[in-house]
Point group: C2
Chain length 254, copies 2
């Protein structure tokens, strides 16, 4: 690796392969990559010793690392230079009723790109999906974080019932309830009012919340019902639209 490369050139060199690791990162630190990453590097990218990749772990920024060993015993890469300092992602949670497989994969991927910090599946009365694959969700989240150049991976929480979600919700965290009707606030206004404070977004399943759920959530002091316009949005569209608008007004898009 040439010592003459500047920071931008270094970032470009490593930028094409960007991997999330859990190990600490720092000048000269050697990182052993996991089985999936090893397979990807050896058999998809045909990487060899001396190639450059980028690593991040959600704590130590982004590092350009040089592959030191690439063989049957695995792949090890040595951190050479920090190419980005660590910075956070806005504190925005998404509590969502899981939908069928492909839309859920899609929702996780898009929510990560749009900068969600916590993904919380919630089972409502009309939620048809009864189990979620948290491992699959986590793998999707890592992949989306790698590709979107995030420096963090969102937390994937275990699924909870709707009642438990409301009972355990931190009362200082505003909850924007994506309601289908009634006297809801425009999302733009709710986002402006949530600036600088911890916030969550709650979206329902196909078919919406049932009347008892709607009444229960609307009665809570930290809940703000919000409207997403005159058309009926699918569950995943609603979650992504709400996140995009929130980021553009109260998040890190400006």
């Amino acid at each position: 690796m040439s010592e003459e490369l500047n920071k931008t050139e270094l970032a470009e060199a490593g930028g094409k392969t960007r991997l999330y690791v859990t190990a600490d990162l720092g000048e000269g630190v050697a990182v052993t990559l996991d089985e999936g990453q090893t397979h990807y590097l050896l058999h998809v990218l045909r990487a060899r010793a001396g190639n450059l990749i980028s690593l991040f772990n959600g704590r130590d920024g982004e590092w350009l690392a040089e592959i030191a060993e690439a063989g049957k015993r695995g792949v090890t890469a040595t951190c050479r230079k920090q190419t980005a300092g660590q910075h956070g992602t806005p504190d925005i949670w998404l509590a969502f009723a899981p939908v069928k497989k492909t839309p859920s994969d899609y929702l996780v991927q898009k929510a990560v790109e749009l900068g969600v910090s916590v993904l919380q599946p919630v089972f409502t009365r009309r939620t048809i999906v009864t189990r979620i694959n948290e491992e699959r969700m986590a793998a999707n989240a890592v992949e989306a974080a790698e590709q979107s150049e995030r420096l963090t991976v969102p937390e994937i929480r275990a699924g909870v019932s709707f009642d438990k979600l409301l009972a355990s919700w931190p009362t200082e965290r505003r909850l924007l309830f994506c309601d289908e009707g009634g006297d809801a606030k425009a999302m733009t206004q709710a986002a402006r009012e949530s600036r600088g404070g911890p916030t969550g977004i709650l979206t329902g399943p196909e078919g919406g919340f049932d009347p008892a759920e709607r009444a229960a959530v609307r009665a809570l002091p930290f809940v703000v019902p919000v409207s997403l316009g005159p058309r009926i949005l699918r569950a995943d569209t609603a979650a992504l639209a709400a996140l995009a608008i929130w980021q553009s007004i109260a998040g890190d898009w400006s």
Copy 2:
């Protein structure tokens, strides 16, 4: 059909099956449904004479219609009552570089829910997809319009080259260019400034626009480069985020 049903009850009765037709709609008008709709009504819903459905055509509002005939010769429904007056969808175009099959289907579906008025595929230098299936796009758009309770179906245009798009773009229509970098305006600000005027959104392929394309589009007087935040968004995420933010600020969401 009981004459005592009020407007809300009528809408609920017909609301579950909502079909787009091209024929004129009006009091007592009989509409013959097409082959796909006939199959759906007879073999999926097992509809029978006397059942109620909702019809819209993009011009005459929404009508509750009673199935008059349902048999081998097809399905005919008679308009009984207008349940919603016609109203438009905001004048917002989306010009997008098509991506692989599933994301394109997804993009069309979501863009229709989010209230796009024109969908314009555009082939850029880095667009890998070389053909688009306009029929499939149109069918997806109709289905999304039916399910999202739109009263219109967006226009699906034939794909054009990037150069042709720019050369034929109506100069009075502002074009929000979703750029990946440079001195772009925040999407919220660009949306505020586009209020009340004809507007389009332009998003690129996976891999973005090439430098020559970027220079060409930025040189045009009607183009406003906009930013969608610090993370790299996939092509379809960028299009949906831009549309959602535009609708919430300059469209019909407030």
